[in-house]
Symmetry: C2
Subunit: 164 residues, 2 copies
DNA sequence: ACATATAGTAAGCGACTGCATATCATCCAT
DNA sequence: ATGGATGATATGCAGTCGCTTACTATATGT
């Protein structure tokens, strides 16, 4: 069955490049573009990811946080240290289990997160303005849907056809 | 102006996470999911990227190819060596400038590329089936549009409103 | 109380990447 | 013909990442 398309030209099928082939470089470019904004607020990419994740839900345990932002649990320790030293987050031992740390944003941290996020949001809006008005919302919906999928479902997304 | 949103809850604004914050992990997951498919064809990610890039337009000079797929020019040499040894691509000195190499897929390479691409395409279709029917096309259009933008325009996407 | 398990921390390893340098062949302008 | 650019190549360095191991403090089940 591969042969039918194999016989076609280079722009066979719908000419759509690989999803990952578009997504990965685009992600890289987005990250590169955001970096200066973050640097202006003294944030690294990981630090920003932490602030975003904490803002969305005050997190119990660092491992959970690490998992949530797709980082290694041992690698965010330094990041958390830095944020804590700057008074942007609080590490508070959970009274019910003194092994785990409750992580929460300080008002300061919330302010910085919002400032950085607004800076990035303004840039994103200009970027998204490049999309056709009709596509923009659907694009964002699609992106959110896919990025919310658990990893296993991406690896093996079940049967092919939702009643088309 | 940051304060207006700073006062809101965690899901303030439109609750949209950062673009890069969605795109980068998603890209990683996509890549991870594609890897087994590629491995089954004996291809690395870079090798596959090369095959795709060559398929789309026979490329003059390796630097150009490297740039096209966002790789380091010195790092794809080994990849090209491997592909050439397996008879998947041809490195032919340009008769008009014998310093540069013309890079082209052999029929074999074309076959392998298509086989791998079809495998990936099948998986992608199942994944994209997770999106609402109305969103799917727009999502792909948006993704293609953005990923086709030159890096500079992503870094600085000009004024907010596109001369619609 | 004792054994087992888990959270956070520290340190190191291997792989990959981007970046820089050096070499050689070839081209181009003078 | 000569000098200065350029493409491909080889090599090495530094930074980052994911992963593993080990250690400490704490919790839980027996």
């Amino acid at each position: 069955m591969a042969e039918s398309t194999a016989a076609n030209g280079p722009e066979a099928d719908d000419g759509r490049p690989d999803l990952a082939a578009m997504m990965v470089p685009l992600g890289r470019a987005l990250m590169a573009a955001e970096l200066p904004v973050l640097r202006a607020h003294g944030l690294s990419m990981w630090a920003y990811a932490v602030l975003l994740a904490l803002g969305e839900e005050p997190t119990r345990s660092q491992s959970a946080l690490a998992q949530a932002i797709g980082a290694d649990k041992t690698r965010i320790i330094g990041v958390l240290d830095g944020l804590q030293d700057r008074g942007l987050i609080e590490r508070r031992p959970d009274p019910r289990d003194r092994r785990v740390h409750l992580l929460l944003l300080t008002p300061e941290g919330r302010r910085l997160r919002d400032a950085a996020r607004n800076g990035i949001r303004r840039w994103e809006d200009r970027l998204l303005a490049r999309l056709a008005d009709d596509d923009r919302e659907a694009f964002l919906r699609g992106l959110r849907t896919l990025s919310a999928l658990p990893e296993e479902e991406i690896a093996d997304p079940g049967p092919a056809a939702p009643p088309r």
